[in-house]
Amino acid sequence: MNVSTIHDIGYRHYEGKRLGRAYVTRSIFVHNLRAAYGLGRPARAKVMPFVLAGIMLLPAVGDIAVVAIAKRPEALFPYTRYQFMLQLIISIFVATQAPVLASREIRFHTVPLYFSRPVVHLDLVLAKLAAFTTALFALTAIPITVLYVGGLVTQVPDSGTQLLHYLGGLLACLLLSLVLGAIGLLVAAFTPRRGFGVAAVIAVLLVSSVLVSVVQEITQHAGHWTLSGWLGLLTPYSLVDAVAYRLLGGKLPDIAVPGVGGGFAALGVCAVIVAGAVVVLYSRFRKAGLS
């Protein structure tokens, strides 16, 4: 006997194709990527990401102008060092936009709505991380692309080396975006209150970098150069810088981990950060998905 007949009041059933898990995951990715730049949201939400992206471009454009007008090709910024030079701006971008992606659904208790669809917890976390990584990659890769194109146009010598360094710079941008995206989303997911997420993310990024630079200065003062290099692994920017210098042929930073082994160690730390963040975010969204 069919129990459901009493509720079947004659509406037509949907018998078409159902868009499955992959489609939902892709939609979450696109939605979060747009949200990271405030697209599809009021103008108020667009101001900050685009202002910051504009500030990121300024030094590159200015540098190209210097190279072109003063005819000084050696003044071109090294590609892998660009993100290190502008780390404050990138940090602020991460801090303002990470809560947009990771805090809002938790704050308004709307995470369970996602899981009423054919999407599993890991899909949501990975889609969010991929979206934020893409947004950060756009923020960091566009300026160095401008640098590279500007270098081509002004005919900076050694175009082959330039291309190699440019590709290395792109890889470094990707790595930095992954690491920063993981850290940002992780911190933001645990501070759902508005304003606090921003402050928490910037506190983690800024305090780690100031702390490490102060301690590095002190260890160098005491003559422990190797230790000082290893300490750089404790903050995202010099961590990625170490990988860029040791493995991707980037420009020498002020201080770096010793040897190619140090570079692989730095890469390992990056992998641990990203994997750890995914695991913790997974359990966080799983918990927020109940209710």
């Binding site: 949201r41 108020r44 404050l88 303002t96 645990f190 402050a199 305090v207 002190i218 005491a222």
Partner: protein
């Protein structure tokens, strides 16, 4: 001052996990000082570097930003401020109460830890009280500016970060003009005048710094009051 508003604000700032963020920053400072003291690697340069770059340059602006925008921003965002504004309490009392709470928080979580860090380090040449006073004075000015920002803009935290990090930190390094218009430098000037250590330099004279600090503090508080008089509460995003 209105004790009920103050109590509610304290509870919202220190409730549950939020206080953790306020404890972590000074905690890192104290641990760093302790490690330096225990390994006996500190001298005048190191002490100045820790107190100036870390306590005054990083912990103070961040804490003042969290406290200053945190006491009023979230309430305006979610509309709860209406429950206060619809009571017969003058707006300047509301602003002053919020400001006092922010200043108390900055004192507790930035100025006192700076004093403790200095004592742990055993900093010579009167560096400890000088930096504690500098952090306190800077904290009052920062808190009033950030409370005003919190009333005026929904992007208060980001604008505050851009000011504290980009304007004071980045531009201050290579544009001397930007360095003069910075609360951090004014606070440093107060510190400079209180210590005879040769490692502390400020870009601004003491008189100018004091005058500017007072003007900025009073101006920001007045601005916050005026803006709170005609506050429009937008819907949540």
């Amino acid at each position: 001052m209105n004790s009920t508003i103050a109590m509610i604000t304290f509870r919202s700032m220190l409730g549950r996990r939020r206080a953790l963020l306020l404890f972590v920053l000074p905690g890192v400072l104290l641990i760093l000082s302790l490690v330096l003291r225990l390994t006996d690697t500190n001298d005048l340069d190191v002490d100045t570097s820790v107190l100036q770059k870390f306590a005054l340059g990083a912990v103070l602006p961040l804490l003042a930003l969290i406290a200053g925008t945190g006491v009023i921003g979230p309430e305006i965002d979610d509309g709860q401020i209406m429950y206060i504004l619809t009571k017969p309490i003058p707006r300047q009392v509301v602003v002053l109460t919020k400001l006092v709470v922010a200043i108390v928080l900055v004192t507790l979580f930035a100025a006192v830890p700076t004093l403790l860090a200095g004592l742990i380090l055993g900093a010579p040449a009167g560096l400890t009280p000088a930096f504690a006073v500098g952090v306190l004075v800077g904290g009052v000015a920062y808190a009033s500016v950030f409370v005003a920002l919190g009333v005026m803009s929904r992007n208060a935290v980001t604008i505050g970060l851009l000011y504290a990090l980009v304007w004071e930190g980045l531009f201050g390094n290579f544009a001397p003009g930007a360095k003069k218009a910075s609360i951090l430098q004014w606070a440093l000037s107060v510190t400079d005048s209180l210590t005879d250590a040769s490692t502390v330099h400020s870009a601004v004279g003491l008189t100018t710094a004091l005058v500017l600090l007072v003007i900025v503090t009073l101006g920001a508080t007045a601005l916050a009051t005026v803006r709170l008089r005609s506050l429009t509460v937008a819907s949540a995003e």
